[in-house]
Every structure is written in C-alpha cells, then in structure tokens.
C-alpha cells in the first residue's frame, strides 16, 4: 500500500462512531517492547538499528492484521507525510524526526500502527473511535502475542517487559482516551478535574500528548504507571475515570443550558459566525471554534448529520493536512488563508444554529429582525 492511499482514505477512527463518541473522541492503547539481543534504539549505533529494523519489519508485515498495510523506512517518507501521520496520531512527533534505521507499519484502516525503533524497538498502538478501551487493548494484545512467537522480547519475571525508560517498564502499556470537554472549560471546572484525575495516578495532557496544549478543549487522559498493576486492571481503572469525566461534562452542559443558555448560544453562534465567514484563521483559533461547533452538534443546535463535517475539519485544518490538500508548501500566512477557505467551503451548507427552544425565547431575541 502506498502512503497516499493510506492518507487519502479516512481512517476508521476519524469517522467517530464509537460508543460515547460525543465526549470521547478516541481510545488508544500502546505497548512498548524491545528485542533481547539488540541495544535500545537511542543507544544503538546506526548499523545495529538498521539490523534490528530488518529483523522486525518483515515479521510485522506478515501479521494477519497487516494483510493490507503501509510499511516503510522513515528515511523514505517525506517530511510532510510524516507530519500528517503525527496529526492523525499514528506516529509520535519524536518518531517523525527519525530517518534511517527506523520504520513504521500501519494497517489499511489506520487502526493499528507499529513504530519500529522509536524510543523502544517496538511501539505498537491500536486506535478506535469513542470509548472502547478494552476492545482496543485486546486488539493490540493479540498483535503482541503474535509478534512474541517470532521475536525474542526482553523480559524479566520480576520487572516485566524491559524498556529504555524506567517509566514504561513492566507492562509497557499506556492506555489513553482523548476527551472533548468544552463545557468544563466554559464553566471553569477543568482545573479541578485535572487535579482530581492526577490524584488518582492518571495523567491529563494536551491534544498531542506530553507537553502540548489542550487545543480545541481536547484532553488526553492516560495511566502513568506500568509496574505493579495488571493490564486489564489499568484499563478498567481508566475506563471508570473516563465514565465519571463523561458524567461531569454532561452535567456541566446541562447546567449551562439551564442556567446560562445565552452563554452557550452566544459561544456556539459566534463560533459558527466566525468559521463560516473568516478569510484568514490560525489553527489554534480554528480548533477552539470547531470545538464549540462540535458541542453545538451534541446539543442539537446543528443537525446530527453535520457531525462528520465538524469532526473531519478537526483533522483537516492542521498544517500538514492543509499543505497536502494544497499540494505545495504554504507559509504560515498562506495556511491561514487556505484554512479559512476550506472551512467556509465545508460549512457552506450548514445552517446557523437553531436556538428556537422556549428557554431561548425567554432569554431574549436570538435574531435581529
């Protein structure tokens, strides 16, 4: 499979249709594994990394899950395409910076991605839409079991799977859910939630993981520890916390609609107004406004069939996706113009938010006549 085929077919998880998909955008589980007889990629010299890649890549490609797959060495992938893979959460930013001696194998649906020679020899992840951590874990666990039949993984009974960084040793498992929490941000509850989740030993991060901003009110919640807890217990614990977060966000939305409907209508209406009329817009502004429109769909201010348009824009407005669509490199200013054009075009058939509920009337006129 060529990279353009992979990038042109929307990944399964972008068409967010999984359970609880109003608030949980994606569920992801990654496992870190290393070969016993090779130095870790960060310490190995180039020939050793290349050799390890030669050992691992054919085994991964031969998996039944990878019957249709994209597979290449990182030095063969153009930097724009690498960036797109990052924007689709298929590879890490660190992996995008790698070249000779590292590789990536991705199935045709974009739901299983294996990074070869990232920080560890293997970083394999499964990704699905909505909240389905357990089924995502089962998928990647099967891949791991199939791989271990052919590869000698570094493992000690006392410490589990050995990794380059002590933070991953043991299960090597990081499970995360990407949650969309606009109402908690609007009602200033988000810091409380982040602190409460931290106290439970889970991490809350921005859209692109460690050290990134929570653009578009999207947060990643994940486990922090990998030693001393079974895989399924970690998944179950995270799942419970996510279910609670969903409940809090839903409550925050209800409360806002009940007590401050004008705030909601104003925010969603402004988002729609700017997005469908802007002629230049930064990616940060676009993501933050798209977040409000997405909440508008959830609250039925826009018809439900508009959800895919908004969800797709979340991905398409990002820099590498824009440049791929434009088929050339764009300066930051050009991107802002191109982005605004794209958004206006996609939203041209979307009618303005419907705020005709009785509550809205009591709150004052919503349209100037």
């Amino acid at each position: 499979m060529k990279i353009d085929e992979l990038l042109n077919t929307p990944s399964d998880w972008i068409r967010t249709e999984g359970p609880n998909n109003k608030i949980v955008m994606t569920s992801r589980v990654r496992l870190a594994r290393n070969l016993k007889n090779f130095s870790f990629p960060g310490w190995a010299k180039k020939p050793e990394r290349q050799k390890a890649l030669e050992v691992m890549r054919p085994v991964i490609e031969a998996l039944p899950e990878m019957a249709q797959c994209f597979s290449d060495s990182m030095d063969n992938i153009q930097s724009l395409d690498k960036q797109i893979l990052v924007e689709r959460h298929m590879i890490s930013r660190e992996h995008a910076a790698r070249n000779i001696g590292s590789g990536v194998v991705i199935n045709d649906k974009g739901t299983i991605c294996v990074m070869v020679n990232e920080e560890d020899h293997l970083r394999m992840q499964a990704l699905k839409s909505g909240l389905q951590l357990k089924s995502v874990f089962k998928l990647i666990d099967r891949v791991d079991t199939e791989l271990e039949e052919q590869l000698d993984f570094a493992f000690l009974p006392r410490l589990g799977y050995l990794t380059a960084c002590p933070t991953n040793v043991g299960t090597g498992l990081r499970a995360s859910a990407m949650v969309h929490l606009p109402a908690m941000v609007l009602s200033d509850q988000i810091n409380q939630v982040v602190q409460a989740v931290n106290k439970l030993g889970l991490a809350v991060r921005g859209l692109y993981g460690e050290g990134t901003e929570a653009l578009g009110n999207v947060f990643q919640v994940s486990n922090q520890t990998t030693l001393g807890e079974k895989e399924l217990d970690v998944i179950e614990r995270l799942n419970k916390v996510i279910l609670q977060i969903i409940e809090h966000e839903e409550n925050a939305r209800c409360t806002l609609l009940e007590k401050r409907p004008r705030l909601i209508y104003d925010q969603v209406g402004r988002a729609y107004g700017v997005l469908s009329n802007a002629h230049t817009i930064s990616s940060k502004e676009a993501l933050n406004l798209l977040s409000l429109m997405r909440m508008g769909v959830d609250l039925e201010l826009f018809p439900a069939q508009r959800r895919p348009v908004v969800d797709e824009l979340f991905i398409l407005v990002q820099p590498a996706h824009l440049q791929k669509a434009a088929a050339r490199k764009l300066t930051a200013e050009e991107r802002d113009v191109y982005r605004a054009d794209l958004i206006r075009d996609r939203l041209k058939d979307v009618a303005k938010p419907a705020v005709a509920e009785p509550g809205a009337a009591a709150d004052g006129p919503t349209e100037m006549v």
Binding site: F38, S39, W43, D152, L156, L159, C165, P166, V169, L227
Partner: protein, 168 residues
C-alpha cells in the same frame, strides 16, 4: 540557586519527597514548575521529573558501573534518563529500585508474561520440585528413583539452556 530544568532562572519552588527512606529533591523556577503542572505536591511524582532530567543521583551513588553488554554507564543514564539495552536493567538494578518504587505502584511486575518466558517459569518450577523429590529419594536410599529424578532434572536443565531466556 538555578532551576534544575531551564538552568537559567532562579529556583523558587523547592520540592522534596521521601521514597523508601531516601530523599528526592528538585528545585525549579516559577515558569518551569508551572510548565510541569506542579500546583501542589500531592499526586505528583518527583521521580518522573528526575528521569526527565536524567539526574538520578540514586543510581550514580555506587561508582561508575558499566553495562558489560552495551558499554552504557551511569553517567549516560544521568545524561539521557534512558538505559542502553536489556542487560542494563540487571546491571543497574539496585540503583533503579528506589526510582521504580517512587514512580510506580510497586517494583514487581504482575502483568502479562510472554509464552516463552511462561514456559521457562514452568520448567524452573518443575526442577525445584524434582530437586526436592531427589533429596527425599536419596535420604530414603531409593537410589534407582534418585537416578531417574536426576536424569529428569538434567533433561529439563538442558531444555532451559536451549530456551531463549535461560533460567529465571
């Protein structure tokens, strides 16, 4: 005193955690402490920051160990916060203990075991059992049985030697 992370600004946030009777300390400036999300010390592990900095004093304590397989040293760990190869885990095991306890729920793995390793574990367990029986047989002067048991143990030991993982 300068911040441990940016090494530029004056450190105004000083954190200490006691883990396993050993002290982990870190000094940060206002900006870096905010960037790392430290609002209050609870629910926050200094060990993670130490790994990020590669400044694991615990590990550097017992004089420059060096991994016999890949040549990785403690100084390298201090620089990168990452290990060199799977054997490093055994080489630096002692020093890593405190860090692991601070970072994780415990310092013992309880999750998945690869089937190859599981097989090895089963054989190791069986050898232990047979050795017990052998001792009993010798004590009871049942030499024929003892010889059989000895052969079985030898057979299993050679299986272990051939297995990828070796005895555990």
């Amino acid at each position: 005193m300068f911040c441990d992370i940016c090494k530029k600004s004056e450190a105004t946030v000083h954190l200490t955690q006691i883990v396993d009777n050993k002290m982990l300390k870190i000094d940060l400036c206002e900006a870096c402490s905010k960037a790392k999300g430290i609002q209050e010390a609870t629910g926050f592990s200094l060990a993670d920051l130490h790994v990020g900095l590669g400044a694991a004093d615990e590990i550097t304590g017992d004089g420059g160990l060096k991994c016999p397989v890949c040549g990785f040293t403690q100084a390298d760990f201090k620089k990168t916060g990452r290990l060199g190869c799977s054997t490093c885990w055994e080489t630096f095991e002692q020093g890593l203990g405190t860090l692991l306890k601070a970072m994780h729920k415990s310092d013992r793995h309880v999750g998945k075991v690869p089937s190859k390793a599981a097989h090895t574990l089963v054989i190791t367990q069986r050898i232990k059992e047979l050795a017990g029986e052998l001792e009993g047989a010798v004590r009871g002067e049942k030499y024929e049985l003892a010889a059989q048991l000895r052969d079985q143990i030898r057979e299993l030991e050679s299986q272990l030697k051939n297995a990828a993982l070796g005895p555990v």
